[in-house]
């Protein structure tokens, strides 16, 4: 007997004929007719007109015919609610049938007839069926509660079905338990706040018992429900895990994945030092790998989940790289997912293998897959530093294949590699440039343009290359246009002479002929920067970029946590929270992973974007003429430790283009204005010294240490021993000029505190009292940090030694020479003025040791013209002794290199105002003359730094 004939009736009076057949007396004919009706229904024909006739066939003891009629009813009851009532009586009767299969069938079907009127009649039969003696009827009735709830939630609550359902969790039959759990879970989802699924240790225990006995599907329902439970403590958590682990050997992948979900969630609560924790981790890997031998669709689900698991707990699968190797016949969706996981698992240990595989994949047929493979090579380079070189050479090989999309993809990732390892692989640029013409995708073009702009000084024909792009400027995508604009501006700043025309062209294209606001605005900013201050423009445009890292493609941690709670479900396949694709209230609750008991696992906060306060000295610009007046107007009352009235804690907006630019603008002013007294002093350079776009964590450090730290250290004690050289006292004020008061003194830095050591001698005939001291504004803001401690009157011919602590928070004005200090001392006789010069080493702070990498970058970053060369003669010290000696004065040796008998010491110094001074000292064995090269953003300090070197080394 075949049923296909039912599909083939094409006669015209079909409905009419069917009607006649349905009303036939012969059972067989009736059955045939109903089958025809169902066939028509399946293909989408409207057979609702036959409703009364079909319902008439319902009253039969033939189970087969009954089922067919029910099928019809379920489909059309909704469109014919009034007639559906006709069926109710039969249902109610069937629910009393001695045959449990019929009882179950009736209650199952009744639940599917979604007509409000019927639901009222459903309640009584359902109540009976929930307590039926036969488990088959009970398990069907349990699901029916969920059906009824879907139609009329209030009714279900009023009738107390929920309580009955809860009772079923304790049923003796495992399948009844499983269905009750499934129904309750679903109902609970639409009542987020209800305490419906009241999970407590007793019910959990019942569920775990049922877990061992019920069908594979029932096990899934129970495991999914268990995953929502929050164990009270780690012990309970462990005992649940122990009872769930055997499920990992189930043949059904869904059971395995749901068990993995429970374990992943609950193991979060276990203390990490527990033996069991390690055992559990080990047990998770094999079943996950086994999932990969399932059918491809399931592999896909498994891989999407493994992708999450690998991000959450990389240790589980770190040794299983090979199983993710792509097979030639894998469906494309499996290939792409495997590739993703391969990159996540890539590490120094397996990188060689991974790269060999990726290279193989890059020659495959599927374009998407090949692209992803090429991209993967780039991601490996960024993730595993040791492999970067190998990755680059692999990419170059791939570029040689000349396959268009491979070349383009390779160029895009090489750009990223440049971002991660600047100035390391420029040798490949020539190869890249050869492929310029074949690039037709915006992303690749933009990447190439970026590379040309970034390394313009190393590409001879950079201007020609960029010019070639400029021809079709308006046809390019925005991405390319923006990149082109920036690249040409970079080029101009690096080679201003040859490219003036080009830059004008691009600026006018961007600002006048474009209606894209982003492009226009960027064009204007560049234009204004270039026209007002090219040097500032340089600082802005050619600023150091923050390095990129591999974390960029990871799922955000809170989302990841939520997705881990949804392992196995659609959410884990889409990598989206359920709220993103489920309508209504269902699944909107956000699930969380339980917290580890007493754990100190704090989330690592990223440092990027954090910025520290930096001390920006107030820029006061007095004129030379006022100098004397200023001094005279000084209020000579003993000053207290002067905290600068203006203490701007300027945020070093390291990532901010404009903020960075402003800082550097100030810094560069001093370069150009040189010795002009009226100009903003070298303090400005100090601001600029923190490279405009250095990662904030780096940029902020010197500012904090140098400025505020020193200021507050002033309160500390006096006279801590230090290895720094202190020059002998020299006479600053002759008795002749001081009406009998002779002052000699020197400067010293002791334990981070600057001190002025004075010797006052009374060479007059009368007693001197009421001493006070004041400084004029000076280059580094030196000011007395306390009153001059001359308490007793100074008798004739008496000498007194005083130490005056100094702060660097005083008003700032550039002096000539830089280290000049004008001092006023007052006593009961008169006010006396003198000036003295302090060694710059006074200002060298203790935390002036620069990180090697930063040193390297900074050295490169300071323009060559800022470099000064000096000879230090007649020093008979070897490099180690010299370096120790210098260290005593806070000149720190960062690195030492020996080339052909010549020691090269790389040293850094930081001034109190945050200016960094970098030095390279060459010492030739046997040659008493040292060569010193000093680089600093404020070149005028170089000379004084050199003097300090000489002073320190010679004494």
């Amino acid at each position: 007997m075949t049923d296909s004939k039912y599909f083939t009736t094409t006669k015209k009076g079909e409905i009419f004929e069917l009607k006649a057949e349905l009303n036939s007396d012969k059972k067989e004919k009736k059955k045939e007719a109903v089958k025809k009706v169902i066939a028509s229904m399946t293909v989408g024909k409207d057979v609702s007109a036959l409703f009364p006739d079909v319902v008439n066939c319902m009253q039969t003891d033939n189970l087969e015919l009954k089922k067919l009629v029910y099928l019809y009813l379920m489909n059309y009851a909704k469109s014919q609610p009034d007639m559906a009532i006709m069926a109710v009586n039969t249902f109610v009767k069937d629910c009393e049938d001695p045959n449990p299969l019929i009882r179950a069938l009736a209650v199952r079907t009744m639940g599917c007839i979604r007509v409000d009127k019927i639901t009222e009649y459903l309640c009584e039969p359902l109540r009976k069926c929930l307590k039926d003696e036969d488990p088959y009827v009970r398990k069907t009735a349990a699901v029916c509660v969920a059906k009824l709830h879907d139609i009329n939630a209030q009714l279900v609550e009023d009738q107390g079905f929920l309580d009955t359902l809860k009772d079923l969790i304790s049923d003796s039959n495992p399948m009844v338990v499983a269905n009750a759990v499934a129904a309750l879970s679903e109902i609970a989802e639409s009542h987020p706040n209800s305490n419906l699924l009241d999970l407590n240790p007793q019910t959990i225990n019942k569920l775990l018992t049922a877990l061992n006995e019920c069908t594979e599907w029932g096990q899934i329902f129970i495991l999914d429900c268990l995953a929502n439970y929050m164990p009270r403590d780690d012990r309970e958590s462990q005992s649940i895990c122990e009872r769930v682990t055997p499920r990992l050997s189930h043949a059904n992948s869904a059971v395995v994945l749901s068990a993995v979900k429970v374990l992943m969630k609950f193991m979060e609560m276990l203390p990490k030092d527990l033996d069991y924790y390690g055992t559990l981790l080990k047990k998770l890997a094999p079943p996950l790998v086994t999932l990969l031998s399932a059918e491809p669709e399931l592999q896909y689900v498994a891989l999407r989940n493994i992708n999450l698991i690998v991000q959450k707990r990389p240790e589980i699968l770190k040794h299983e790289m090979k199983v993710f190797f792509v097979k030639y016949n894998d469906p494309i969706y499996v290939k792409l997912e495997k590739l993703d996981i391969m990159i996540r698992l890539a590490s120094q240990a397996n990188i060689a293998q991974v790269l060999a595989e990726l290279k193989e994949y890059a020659t495959e047929v599927d374009v998407d897959f090949v692209r992803k493979a090429v991209r993967a090579i780039g991601r490996c380079a960024i993730k595993v530093e040791q492999s970067a070189e190998r990755c680059v050479s692999t990419l170059l090989d791939l570029i040689q294949t000349k396959v268009n999309y491979v070349v383009q993809e390779a160029i895009v990732v090489i750009k990223d590699i440049f971002r991660k390892y600047p100035n390391k692989y420029e040798s490949v640029i020539a190869t890249l440039c050869e492929n310029l013409d074949s690039l037709d995708e915006p992303e690749a073009r933009a990447a190439m343009i970026w590379i040309v702009g970034e390394y313009a000084e190393r590409i001879d024909n950079a201007d020609e290359l960029l010019e070639s792009f400029l021809e079709g400027f308006h046809d390019e995508s925005t991405q390319v246009q923006l990149q082109l604009l920036t690249a040409i501006v970079k080029l101009f700043l690096k080679k201003p002479t040859e490219t003036q025309e080009l830059v004008q062209q691009v600026l006018s294209l961007a600002t006048q002929d474009s209606d894209n606001p982003d492009l226009r605005d960027r064009g204007y900013i560049y234009w204004r920067l270039l026209s007002t201050d090219p040097v500032a423009a340089k600082e802005v445009v050619l600023a150091e970029k923050p390095l990129i890292s591999e974390e960029t493609d990871l799922i955000e941690p809170t989302l990841l946590e939520e997705l881990i709670c949804h392992i196995g479900t659609l959410a884990s396949v889409y990598h989206k929270p359920p709220s993103a694709f489920v309508e209504g209230s269902r699944g909107v609750q956000h699930k969380r992973i339980p917290a580890r008991a007493g754990s100190g696992e704090s989330a690592e906060s990223s440092d990027v974007g954090q910025s520290g306060p930096s001390e920006a000295p107030p820029a006061v610009i007095p004129s030379q003429g006022d100098l004397l007046g200023d001094l005279l107007n000084l209020d000579l009352a003993p000053p207290t430790a002067t905290v600068p009235s203006v203490q701007p804690s300027m945020q070093m907006g390291a990532m901010d283009l404009l903020g960075g630019g402003l800082d550097s603008l100030m810094g560069d002013d001093s370069d150009t204005l040189g010795g002009d007294i009226g100009g903003s002093p070298s303090m400005g350079a100090g601001l600029g010294a923190a490279p405009a776009a250095m990662p904030a964590s780096l940029g902020a450090a010197p500012a904090v240490g140098g400025g505020l730290g020193d200021l507050f250290d002033l309160g500390g004690g006096v006279g801590m021993p230090t290895g720094s050289y202190v020059a002998p006292k020299t006479v600053w004020l002759l008795a002749m000029k001081g009406k009998g008061l002779e002052i000699s003194g020197t400067f010293a830095r002791r334990g981070g505190i600057i001190q002025m050591d004075l010797t006052l001698t009374n060479k007059a005939m009368s007693v001197m009292t009421d001493f006070a001291i004041q400084f004029n504004r000076n280059s580094f803001g030196l000011a007395p940090a306390g009153p001059l401690q001359v308490l007793t009157p100074l008798s004739p011919n008496q000498t007194i030694d005083v130490s005056l602590p100094l702060s660097t928070s005083g008003p700032v004005m550039k002096m000539e020479p830089l280290n000049n200090l004008q001092v006023a001392v007052k006593n009961n006789i008169d006010v006396f003025y003198f000036s003295c010069q302090y060694p710059l080493s006074l200002l060298f702070v203790e935390d002036g040791k620069m990180d090697r990498q930063v040193f390297l970058a900074t050295w490169k970053d300071i323009p060559n013209e800022n470099e000064a060369h000096f000879q230090i003669k007649d020093i008979h010290l070897n490099s180690d002794v010299a370096s120790n000696k210098l260290q005593g004065s806070n000149i720190f040796t960062i690195a030492k290199r020996t080339v052909e008998g010549q020691d090269m010491l790389y040293q850094s110094v930081k001034l109190t105002n945050g200016i960094w001074v970098l030095a390279e000292m060459r010492i030739q064995t046997g040659n008493p003359n040292y060569t010193l090269s000093i680089r600093c953003r404020a070149p005028e300090v170089c000379q004084f730094v050199y003097l300090c070197y000489e002073l320190v080394l010679k004494n």
Partner: protein
Amino acid sequence: MIGGLFIYNHKGEVLISRVYRDDIGRNAVDAFRVNVIHARQQVRSPVTNIARTSFFHVKRSNIWLAAVTKQNVNAAMVFEFLYKMCDVMAAYFGKISEENIKNNFVLIYELLDEILDFGYPQNSETGALKTFITQQGIKGQHQTKEEQSQITSQVTGQIGWRREGIKYRRNELFLDVLESVNLLMSPQGQVLSAHVSGRVVMKSYLSGMPECKFGMNDKIVIDKQGKGGTTDDPGKSELGGSGKQSIAIDDCTFHQCVRLSKFDSERSISFIPPDGEYELMRYRTTKDIILPFRVIPLVREVGRTKLEVKVVIKSNFKPSLLAQKIEVRIPTPLNTSGVQVICMKGKAKYKASENAIVWKIKRMAGMKESQISAEIELLPTNDKKKWARPPISMNFEVPFAPSGLKVRYLKVFESKLNYSDHDVIKWVRYIGRSGIYETRC
């Protein structure tokens, strides 16, 4: 949960449509046809979201099965269910084809009503279903009350896979150890990845409710016994033939009849088997795999229009054993114009439609070697893209288990009926087949 289930033919016509939830309308049927079946592109994902409705689909020959939902369902479960659905249908009417589905549509509806209730999968064991799904099996009205309650308790009970009162005159069981050995080898002969995925398939014709215990040369079990000093297993000396005493199993999964908690705690495999054929366990090994064949490729490009290919295969097992159905598939470039092949053994043919040279050898003993050489003429092309050189793949069948797995025992206990373990006739067979057995060239 699952909101609806549709079955389509290759043209996208609906053969079966069963909707379980209100949120799935008739338009969902069409959406899938338009967006997936009629889409020109190859399937990029087995789960497709169209207008906030998710479609899970699998394809069997040219029939599409799609499960539809609007909720955050357990995706793994839906696919497992679709596979199960295919198994159940196949058990009832054989191959899943348009004709068979049309011929059995009433049965399919009845099955769908039973195994999926409101979108929740219910008992889907064919053995149990056949006792009460009426289209072809026993008719409802002929059952006695006892029979009925027996059916319901079986469907819902602990041992849903076996009914009481089975009787055989001769108690017999067959064990097949079926392995597929997978290999990916580099052109230089380095094993990039290799694993065996095996299955133990059992056909049981046993009376009553027999309690079975299955033992194999699992390293963990053997080591445990070795420590205990009870190594007087007679099977052991015989095992020495393969050179391996025990094997390390990476992971295994079991039919639901196996008591998993017992395996977890004692690593013993005990169960009451379903009647007839079923898959007892699956396993996976990666260590010490016997690779039955080694393929040594040599591809040389002679100018732009000619390729020379030489492939040597070596068999690597006991000379007394015979491998069968050996097939080596050597891919050729798309612009191949002609091929000349010389092989020492078997038959080789260039199949233009498959872009490959197919070399077939009926039988080959162990520790032998054979060779094929071919000259491939190419049409000159201006296609810039290089030929991707797909790997050389191999198919074969060998009469041993490449993983080294051995069945040590399968004990049968039935306390109520009077037959003992010794009365059961047992058959064991090992078949090793190639899975994806590829060598890159």
